[in-house]
């Protein structure tokens, strides 16, 4: 295995539900913690890749964050790939390091989605008023709606049940309950998930990820710097079917995810069976099931049964418990490979697969991590 880059530091802000803090403050805290975790100061870092936040400062977030840090990086960009952005930015960082655009790059994502979201529901609704996209907006879409289309198609075609989806939340909450700092630490029963209010049937409230304030950061350097607690980027890939749900001719198989996984496995020289711990984006319960199937952990159609299987997945609780943020899947993978997870440590974990999806599940980024050398 040839490492493409190495992760020398990680950091997370003190986020959670409605912190009262601004997003850029959370981002700055996470960034400084990642730099300190690497035993460095910001003077030794010259690159920055930032996820454009959803509810705060869309415009040139990379510069706003650099200002907050009283810092002038020599390479800086913000990108918007939805919840998959930090995964995409790890890939971009690896390429930028190889091109010598920078020597050490911070990958940061943050948002104050609870604190900064408009308290007035009518104002929130106004965001989509005016039928900006005539192919979608007139029909009252909510985020969960597209995932519900996919869930219903899966249930109808393969006999997947609501109970199988609900079991994903039950497991996530069990794991998150043991993790200090997780946002939702109360375990829930299968019955509670099933009886939670419907949002976009077949999906109910407890099929949906939490909404959070968060900040997370990774510090990447050239692969040659991988030593000690560093974690190597062994492989990555991406695949994109489209943005609009209408670009998916089959709602039960997602070739963008399959392509993303295949490229990452090939580059890392591993397969699904070699993965010790999986960190899989889980915006909704169905998202996880689709990832299992299309990343090759189980055949298409068998995700419902597989979901309660042996593969260690999201030991920190993921988005159904730990945080609604995005980068924590990658920071948790690093903790797992360092053997430093405060709960749910997978003994001797050497290969971690991280997967981020966006545009429902039509867009996919896979990053495979392992110990240096």
């Amino acid at each position: 295995m040839t490492a493409r880059a190495t992760i020398i530091g990680i950091g997370e802000a003190d986020g959670g539900r409605r912190t009262g803090r601004s997003g850029v403050e959370l981002g700055a805290e996470a960034a400084l913690r990642a730099v300190a975790d690497a035993g460095l100061t910001l003077d030794a870092v010259d690159g920055l890749l930032v996820e454009s936040p959803d509810v705060e400062q869309h415009h040139m977030a990379h510069l706003a964050l650099a200002d907050a840090l009283a810092w002038r990086p020599r390479f800086a960009t913000s990108t918007g790939c939805g919840g998959a952005t930090p995964f995409a930015n790890v890939i971009l960082a690896a390429a930028a390091l190889e091109a010598r655009l920078a020597e050490r790059i911070l990958v940061v994502d943050y948002d104050a989605r609870q604190t900064r979201r408009n308290a007035d529901p009518a104002q929130r609704m106004a965001r989509t008023a005016g039928h900006k996209n005539p192919w979608e907006d007139p029909y009252g879409p909510v985020t969960a709606a597209k995932f519900a289309l996919i869930a219903r198609a899966h249930m109808e075609r393969f006999g997947t049940t609501r109970e199988q989806l609900a079991a994903i939340t039950v497991r996530a909450r069990q794991q998150g309950a043991r993790r200090p700092g997780a946002q939702l630490r109360t375990p829930v029963s299968l019955e509670e998930v099933l009886a939670s209010p419907p949002i976009a049937e077949p999906l109910h409230v407890l099929d949906c990820c939490v909404v959070s304030d968060w900040g997370s950061a990774l510090l990447l350097a050239h692969a040659a710097h991988g030593r000690g607690r560093a974690v190597d980027v062994l492989g990555f890939g991406q695949g994109h079917q489209g943005y609009a749900i209408t670009r998916a001719p089959d709602l039960t198989a997602f070739p963008g995810i399959a392509e993303s996984g295949r490229l990452a496995y090939e580059m890392a020289g591993v397969g699904p069976a070699d993965v010790d711990v999986a960190l899989l984006y889980v915006s909704f319960t169905i998202t996880l099931l689709i990832a299992y199937e299309n990343l090759g952990f189980c055949p298409i159609g068998e995700g419902g049964k597989y979901a309660s299987g042996e593969l260690p997945v999201n030991p920190h609780g993921g988005q159904l418990s730990y945080s609604g943020g995005h980068g924590h899947f990658l920071t948790e993978a690093v903790r797992q490979l360092r053997g430093e997870a405060p709960s749910g440590q997978v003994p001797g974990a050497r290969v971690a697969l991280c997967h981020g999806s966006a545009a429902a599940v039509l867009s996919s980024y896979t990053v495979i991590l392992g110990p240096p050398g």
């Binding site: 909510v142 198609a153 976009a200 209408t246």
Partner: protein
């Protein structure tokens, strides 16, 4: 190359018709419109009439809405419909209880909903009470 803005579609809807983009080179039908034919890549595309008939690809029953107009209608049915001529569109299914709907069901465009600007937004309604059981194919 002709433009691919929604105007011809929206004008047709105001007259109670469904329009779709058809490739002059290979005959492929597509919706939403694009700058190229998704089948053959040709840029020779024209708007043509669709019969307004299709298949329900999937649907969700929404209990939360993103805007006041839809909030007044919860629960409503958000759906994906495959038109007979080609093209896949997001829409609402009206006039049926969720329990009466099945994936694969025949649906027909209806033109009952007009917004404040006078634009008519095509919706779909059940075309047959129930599709034949034999059609349920892939569920094994």
């Amino acid at each position: 190359m002709t433009g691919f803005g929604p105007q011809p579609y929206l004008e047709a809807a105001r007259e109670g018709r469904l329009a779709l983009q058809r490739c002059s080179a290979c005959g492929h039908g597509q919706l939403p419109p694009m700058a190229r034919c998704e089948a053959c890549g040709s840029r020779e595309l024209a708007w043509t009439a669709a019969a307004g008939l299709g298949i329900l690809a999937s649907f969700a029953v929404l209990h939360r809405a993103p805007d006041a107009e839809h909030q007044a209608r919860v629960p409503y049915i958000y759906a994906l419909v495959d038109l007979d001529e080609g093209g896949r569109i997001v829409t609402n299914v009206v006039g049926s209880e969720p329990s009466e709907l099945r994936i694969g069901q025949r649906v027909r465009a209806v033109f009952r909903r007009t917004d404040d600007s006078g634009q008519v937004w095509p919706e779909f309604a059940r075309e047959e009470p129930e599709r034949p059981t034999a059609d349920r194919g892939r569920r094994d």
